[in-house]
Amino acid sequence: MDVPAVRLVGLWREFADRVVLQDVSVALPPGESLVVLGPNGAGKTTLLRILATLLRPSGGEASVLGCRLPREAWRARGRIGYVAHEPLLYRDLTVAENLRFHARLHGLQPAEAAEARIAELLERVGMAPRAGELARNLSAGMAQRVAVCRAVLHEPELLLLDEPHAHLDPEAGGLVEPLIAPGVARSRVTVTHDFRAGLAGGGRVLALGHGGSVAYEGPAEGLSTADAEAIYRETPR
């Protein structure tokens, strides 16, 4: 049987005395897509950071690509691509230098292959002409395109995407979408506020309510737009 790309059982996370995620359970088969919905403060980014091995769960079980977190986080690292709120780019390095740095961290060998991969990705997102530009000079949308390149540079098995279309115009969104699409060898967890697009995309949906509790978990077809709207309208606790 295939190992789930993501498996959470009763996941719990607190910051000091504030509960951010409570009793979250979900399983994502390999190659499939999970859309995480929920209002501001529902714990979506926290959930993604736990899956990215950047935060420890406070309780419950979490495993990513068959690796128990946090104990086996080291085995999952390098197999995950993460697009965060911030582009995770050094402002005083150029676009190409940033990607070369990440290629070296992820052990992309040989250097010529890494260079070819970087050139190909920049070409695909329309950033090749800006490869020599300092990251500090990029607009938010351009930085987001480069951030997507950084996240998929090492061809990860699991993509964690926090509002991947933020700052992108429709054309740029169309350019990055093929790079972050789920596939046979790649699962995807996407946090989005655009619940209509999220539900239309199919796959599984995890809707978090205020306080980080699970409002819905199941196939996208099982959650109507009206129900999703109601989750967003719920009064914060």
Binding site: L55, R77, E86, D92, R104, L105
Partner: protein, 222 residues
């Protein structure tokens, strides 16, 4: 090793491009020497006073770089990016400490001649003094990088680094001053007591490199 070299090369490239740390350190050190020159109203220093002026100046100049060491990693998401990669976290600490050693060596290469012009009658002490400074730099960098990583998430970083770091550096300063004092003695360098102080400096370096290696993983945890 690949992560170490990638992070170190990135840091040195950014420093060369932005000149955020080293020029400030050099300016601070030269200005401090000028202040000591007129404040002490002496054209020549020797022994413990010369060692104290030199080492205190290097130490406070180093604090400027220590404060900035992890700023880009925190503010620009470098820590997250590095933790997502399949690399040993201690390579980040090692790269940061090595970058700090490089900054200190550049600082000393520029300011040691200035110190000699301002305060020394003879330059004979400078070559052996460099050895003392290199050993002190390693200890300072090992401790400084660790404390910088701890303090960088705090809004009171600029206060926290000196408050925590300076007490930890007292043994290092005692050993470095003990080794430098006879080298800067009036009438030329004396080598009798230097070896034992160098051994103490070496021991300090080893202890704090091991402490950093042992605890850095926990520092990076949320």
């Amino acid at each position: 090793m690949r992560a170490f070299s990638a992070i170190l090369a990135k840091d040195l490239r950014v420093e060369l491009r932005t000149l955020q740390s080293v020029p400030g350190m050099v300016l601070f050190a030269v200005t401090t020497f000028v202040l000591f020159r007129f404040g002490l109203d002496r054209t020549s220093l020797e022994g413990d006073l010369a060692a104290g002026v030199l080492l205190a100046t290097v130490l406070f100049a180093a604090i400027l770089a220590v404060n900035r060491l992890f700023v880009a990693e925190r503010d620009q998401g470098g820590l997250d990016a590095i933790r997502l990669a399949p690399v040993d976290a201690t390579s980040l600490l090692a790269a940061k400490a090595t970058a700090l050693v490089v900054y200190l060596l550049v600082l000393e290469a520029v300011t040691l001649p200035v110190f000699a012009v301002f305060f020394l009658d003879s330059w004979a002490a400078l070559p052996p003094l460099m050895l003392v400074l290199v050993l002190a730099d390693v200890g300072l960098a090992a401790t400084g990088a660790l404390i910088s990583s701890l303090a960088t998430g705090s809004r009171a970083r600029d206060l926290l680094v000196p408050l925590v770091l300076l007490p930890l550096l007292v043994p290092l300063m005692i050993a470095a001053a003990g080794a430098a004092e006879p080298l800067l003695a009036a009438g030329g360098p004396e080598y009798g007591r230097v070896a034992s102080w160098l051994a103490v400096l070496g021991l300090y370096d080893v202890v704090f490199l091991l402490v950093g290696y042992g605890v850095f993983d926990f520092v990076l945890e949320d």
